[in-house]
Amino acid sequence: MSDSMDEDRREHDPLLTLVWWVLTALMVLCLFLAVFGLGAYPIILANKAYFVAGFARSGIAESALPWIGVLGVLLAISMALTYLFLRNLRRMIDSVSHGRPFDRINAERLRQMAWLSIAIQVVALPMTRLIIWFDAMPQKPNVHHNSDGVSMGSILLTLVLFVLARVFRTGAQMQEELEGTV
């Protein structure tokens, strides 16, 4: 009986199905960008003359080339962290589909997501600084940036995730008690 209920839940929740597919697409994008981030600098080095000329037209000095490599690595790290974040979220959706959302593992996933969101913001700091630096190269028109890579929304997301992790942990305890009730 519970199996058929699970099937029903999966089939009749289009929002969860839609989000599941969006998350999957974003995860693929993250993997692509991570590979791009890691592969960009070796490709630039292999075709240095071509890229140096291109960067010169964009106002980026040749001395900045190694920093593009650093930016690529930071992008790869950021995308890897985002991938893990999205994977946890997708697994939580799977747990809802299987009829066990209030599970201790979901509380642990939320806690991991909170730490991952902190890590993503930490990586975003030097990334944003580098991008601002590239934009502010002498040859370029002066571009003003107000963002430092950390937004109020990101901080709120982290706090919400930590709170939700505790809510889910308590929910899991309540569910375990309920399951032992005859």
Partner: protein
């Protein structure tokens, strides 16, 4: 847990099987087995009410307290 379940004795007295009781009180055999073996964490009043009605007994006839039983 120091709470002991004496469902077996009462069923024996009434010459009733666990399956039969499960059907009469509309509870799954698996859940009733959990109760009988003392693995349940809690019992609903509605379940206790149904068992007492079918076995014609008092809650104290089914449940007991023993300090000899170790906490789990």
């Amino acid at each position: 847990m120091a709470i002991i379940v004496k469902l077996d004795e009462r069923l024996h007295e009434k010459r009733m099987t666990l399956t039969e009781l499960a059907e009469r009180i509309d509870i799954t055999l698996a859940n009733l087995s959990i109760l009988k073996t003392g693995k349940a964490r809690a019992i609903r009043f509605s379940t206790l009410d149904a068992i007492c009605r079918e076995l014609d007994c008092q809650p104290g006839d089914i449940l007991g307290f023993s300090t000899d039983v170790k906490d789990t």
